[in-house]
């Protein structure tokens, strides 16, 4: 049996390891044109800053491929011949497979504005993006980062750390409405501004203006303002890295993700897809890719079991996530409603859904507990650390707000000697 895995990110690597664990004699080939070794994509910002080396971000030692007898193909795939069971590479070389896993991940969503094509406009998703930005970003240049999400704030931080004045252009009226409410976004925005980032909220980009040599000169905003820029980073989300699948027998979603069934099997024989590039069913019934580190890992494992013939299905569990906005850590678990649409119209959280919120005075720390009626359904914490495991258990146990507030300190996960959680008189439910 020859398993071929396209992509050596967390999804592909986890699948390969599970396949090897179960089938000692199978031939397993990992294909990637990005890097010889599996590395941690969320760590790219630390490599840029020089906090870690690229090698530090490789979770396994470099002897792994040899030890696991993984064959490595370092080429870019041009297309998949599903009828002939083969990958076709640029230059027409072919690698046959018995079973194929597409774990090709994402790339930055292409900047849609006039003037986006050409030098000086960057993304920050792949190793190639990192190298490009690292080559060009020099102290003193003016940078404009466009996008109000997690990659945007990371890029703003590392560019600012390198000594570039950064303007952060956010389409929505508050930062990261996908995860934060107005109060929380206000805290994060103040924190970013305190660090010297020029945050522009509620601003749409009109075009990217270029100077006589073709380099970016400014970012034009709707309304006429021009923000001077030597360097532009588009951090407006990611799209499945599946351009090479256009025209193949595989069904793709409108957004380009590979349509898979519950066992992560694609629409062509012996082809599976997992991770960022797979269109999966979410707990609310919607179908979209899950662009997360831990779900890519989980999907890789499920896909491998499915390829081995196990009767498995992938089920999205309760949502949780964490991130860091400059120095501000964020933990979320459960259902936290999105309150602002991308076009800045308010969204209704639904009947009976309210938030218990408090801000700790003197520190950039806030706690929000989302309730439906009296039942706790979600958590959003800024500036302190929380173990999502008890939080999710309370959600599953349908605990009341008073129970949760009484026990919340047990879920605190801060370093020792940090102030313990307590309910403040200023806390309010609204």
């Amino acid at each position: 049996m020859h398993y071929v895995i396209l992509g050596n990110g967390v999804c592909g690597m986890e699948a390969a390891l599970l396949l090897r664990e179960r089938e000692a004699d199978a031939r397993i080939t990992l294909v990637s044109d990005e890097h010889d070794h599996f590395f941690s994509r969320p760590a790219l910002m630390y490599v840029f800053a020089g906090q870690t080396s690229l090698r530090d971000t490789e979770p396994y030692d470099r002897g792994l491929y040899e030890r696991m007898r993984f064959e490595r193909v370092r080429m870019r795939v041009a297309s998949v011949d599903t009828a002939g069971h083969a990958l076709v590479f640029q230059g027409a070389a072919r690698v046959g497979y018995d079973k194929l896993l597409l774990a090709v991940g994402s790339r930055g969503r292409p900047a849609p504005w006039p003037g986006s094509e050409g030098p000086g406009v960057h993304y920050f998703v792949t190793l190639g993006d990192l190298e490009g930005l690292d080559r060009e970003a020099r102290e003193g240049q003016r940078a404009v980062v466009i996008g109000g999400g997690l990659i945007g704030v990371e890029v703003a931080e590392i560019l600012h750390d390198r000594g570039l004045p950064v303007t952060f252009v956010v389409r929505e009226n508050w930062y990261f409405p996908l995860a934060l409410d107005a109060n929380e976004a206000q805290l994060v925005t103040e924190h970013m501004r305190h660090h010297g980032i020029d945050v522009r909220l509620g601003q749409n980009v009109e075009d990217i203006l270029r100077g006589p040599e073709g380099r970016p000169r400014a970012v034009g905003l709707v309304g006429g303002e021009e923000v001077p820029a030597d360097l532009v980073v588009a951090a407006i989300g990611v799209v499945p890295n599946t351009a090479f699948l256009a025209g193949s027998a595989l069904n793709l979603s409108k957004g380009g993700a590979v349509e898979v069934d519950d066992a992560l099997k694609g629409s062509a024989p012996d082809v599976w897809a997992a991770g960022d590039c797979a269109n999966v069913t979410w707990s609310d019934g919607s179908r979209r890719p899950e662009q997360l580190w831990y779900t890519a890992r989980d999907q890789g494992r499920v896909a491998a079991r499915s390829m081995l013939g196990d009767d498995v299905v992938y089920r999205r569990g309760t949502w949780y996530n964490s991130a860091k906005f400059f120095d501000l850590e964020w933990t979320t678990a459960g259902f936290v409603p999105v309150l602002l649409n991308w076009d800045n119209t308010p969204l209704d959280p639904g009947p009976d859904v309210r938030s218990w919120f408090q801000r700790v005075p003197g520190r950039i720390v806030s706690q929000r507990v989302v309730v439906k009626g009296d039942r706790v359904i979600g958590f959003n914490f800024l500036g302190s650390r929380w173990d999502h495991e008890p939080l999710m258990q309370w959600i599953h146990e349908r605990r009341s707000l008073s129970f949760v507030l009484e026990h919340l300190a047990e879920a605190q996960f801060d370093e020792e000697f940090m102030p313990r959680f307590r309910v403040l008189p200023t806390a309010r439910l609204g």
């Binding site: 906090q51 870690t52 530090d56 979770p59 831990y294 850590e329 996960f413």
Partner: protein, 365 residues
């Protein structure tokens, strides 16, 4: 919570570049001069440190060394607190270890000397300071100091290590660890994380512990029977001298500090210190551990990179397994630099027993 980014790999001195090799050479030669005095083979005929001490009005080169050591820790401590003071654990721990050095490691021994006493470093204990339980020390020191040494080494330390892990000593009190965690901070990421280094560590540190125990035993046997057996007395003296030179001077001093810029800090603590070996064994069965938050690790590697003891913390975090390693000195830096807050140093018996699996990612039909 780490505030700001570190640009560790952009500084040549933290990055094994030429300047780092020069610094390492300078430190190594300094330590050789300190311990050996004149080195005729290198054409050095006089005791540089002793001459320097006398020129500065100090009687002994060891006072000068203590002064330089303490100043390096104060300067390094300020650096660490500026860099990592956003964490109260780092702030308090660093302040304590520097204060312990100033008071117990430097001032008190000098005061004792002024009052005509034999000097005693109250922050050091057997078997790290092996001579503190040699008969010559035991019989020559006042009762209170003796009680301090005995109770510390044999009673208090095992109990403290059981409840708090070896960190209570290795990164809160000990001068060796104190220097590593202050002046040595720019080099902590250079520790070798390979599985091979872990194997070497296990052989090496327990060998030194064995040597320390044997040496102590031989010295005591000699005290008991030496007067009747001149050959054994000579042998015991040789063993004692050899241990002091090879382990005390060369390993803990020359290699331990001299190789900071090349092998990272804590080379001695990790591969040699018999105290760390003993406390580590107790820690392994004790309460201290680094709790791992389930399925939240993004494998970025900050924890492993900044582990001065070369523990691959990330491997534990990725596998959702709490870190319980004899080597861990509990400096807390892994938890501090983790951008997802996955790690927590803890002594409590049980943290949380989850009733339900939180992510059912594969459902068997």
């Amino acid at each position: 919570m780490q505030a700001g980014l570190m640009n560790t790999y952009e500084h040549p001195v933290s990055n094994r570049q030429t300047v780092a090799w020069c610094l390492s050479g300078l430190l190594t030669v300094s330590y050789l001069l300190l311990y050996l005095g004149p080195i005729p083979a290198l054409g050095i005929r006089w005791d540089v440190f002793q001459a320097g001490a006398e020129a500065a009005g100090l009687k002994s080169k060891w006072t000068l060394y203590g002064l330089l050591y303490t100043l390096a820790m104060i300067a390094g401590g300020v650096y660490v607190i500026r860099r990592h003071g956003s964490s109260r654990y780092q702030l308090i721990r660093t302040s304590v270890v520097v204060l312990v050095q100033i008071v117990f490691g430097f001032t008190l021994p000098i005061v004792m000397k002024v009052f005509g006493q034999q000097e005693h470093y109250f922050s050091y204990f057997w078997p790290l300071k092996i001579e503190y339980l040699y008969p010559s020390t035991v019989l020559g020191q006042p009762f209170l100091i003796l009680a301090w040494s005995f109770l510390g080494s044999l009673v208090a330390f095992p109990i403290l290590a059981y409840f708090f892990g070896k960190r209570f000593y290795c990164s809160w009190v000990c001068g060796c660890g104190g220097l590593a965690n202050t002046a040595g901070e720019p080099f902590r990421h250079l520790s070798d994380k390979s599985p091979r280094a872990w194997k070497v560590e296990q052989v090496s540190i327990y060998s030194v512990l064995f040597l320390a125990l044997v040496t102590t035993a031989i010295v005591w046997v000699n005290w008991a029977i030496g007067r009747q057996h001149a050959d054994f007395a000579r042998f015991a003296f040789k063993v004692q001298e050899w241990y002091g030179f090879a382990i005390g001077a060369i390993f803990s001093g020359v290699i331990g500090v001299g190789f900071y810029p090349l092998m990272g800090t804590r080379v001695w603590c990790r591969f040699g210190c018999p105290m760390a070996a003993l406390l580590g064994l107790i820690q392994k069965f004790g309460r201290f551990r680094i709790t791992v938050k389930k399925d939240m690790c993004i494998s970025c590697g900050n924890c492993s990179t900044y582990c001065e003891m070369g523990i691959d913390v990330r491997a534990y975090a990725m596998a959702n397994v709490d870190v319980k390693r004899a080597a861990c000195v509990g400096c807390g830096m892994c938890a501090h630099v983790c951008p997802r807050g996955v790690l927590k140093l803890e002594n409590k018996p049980i943290r949380w027993k989850a009733g339900t699996p939180i992510r059912v990612y594969a459902v068997d039909l």
